[in-house]
Amino acid sequence: MKRKSKIFEIKLPIDTANLEIIRNFVANIALNMGFSEENVHRIELAVDEASTNVIKHAYKKANRNQKLIAVRVTTYPDRLQIEVVDTGKGFNPEKVKTPSMDLYLKKMKRGGLGLYLIKTLMDKVEYEIKPGVRNKVRMIKYLNTHAA
């Protein structure tokens, strides 16, 4: 028996008010797939962090209202894949590294915690950055974490 993947996608204006819609959209799909409540929370938080980064940093304030954030969820028999896509300025994921969270916190800096969280919460994270064309954060969570 061949089980196919399914794709769900939403596109929303760049507005923090839409974070709730994005979280609920992804959480419902994850719940339906059979993820535990704890893992649904992890997935929800990771997609919130990736989306917040886009909403806060991808576009200049002046042209934000004509832009969209796309969240594309693909379900596979063994995993959930979420892609958060924008066409903004992009970033270098290697530069946004937090080698020691402890040290980072001691400096009492704020911000920049999101990427660290995403990495911690998901099984696999990939970036495809083409500034001004298409930037993509791809996050994967396996139904059975041991399969990661």
């Binding site: 962090e49 915690l113 969280l117 911690t120």
Partner: protein
């Protein structure tokens, strides 16, 4: 709509901010302005009661980071109490328990301020 609300009260010279609902990048500015109001009025002994907080993202944690230096330089502190396991986990993942004191009850958080003095 997911709600976010902040309630302020005072006990034993400690200001208590009770935050409820969903704390994300959309609602964090709300929480931040309430905290900043306290600090502007020179209230530096603050308990943030998370009983009733259902969700927090790093934007919410950033608010704590943004004000803590100022509060401590003025001899005060922010103590955190009553976090649900799901909420505490986010603080824990980012190493916050090494920087902030967490308590199970509002009483014990308040007491900690008054023992010190």
């Amino acid at each position: 709509m997911e709600k976010f609300e902040v309630f302020l009260k005072e006990r034993d010279n400690v200001k208590i901010l009770n935050i409820q609902g969903f704390l994300d990048a959309h609602t964090a500015p709300n929480f931040e302005s309430e905290l900043e109001k306290l600090i502007q009025d020179k209230n530096y002994n603050i308990v943030v009661n998370l009983d009733g907080l259902q969700y927090i993202s790093s934007a919410g944690l950033g608010v704590f980071m943004g004000v803590i230096e100022n509060v401590r330089q003025n001899g005060g502190d922010i103590k955190i109490c009553c976090a649900a396991p799901k909420v505490f986990k986010v603080f824990d993942l980012l190493g916050f328990p090494s920087l902030y004191e967490f308590f199970d009850s509002e009483d014990s958080a308040i007491k900690k301020f008054n023992v010190k003095k």
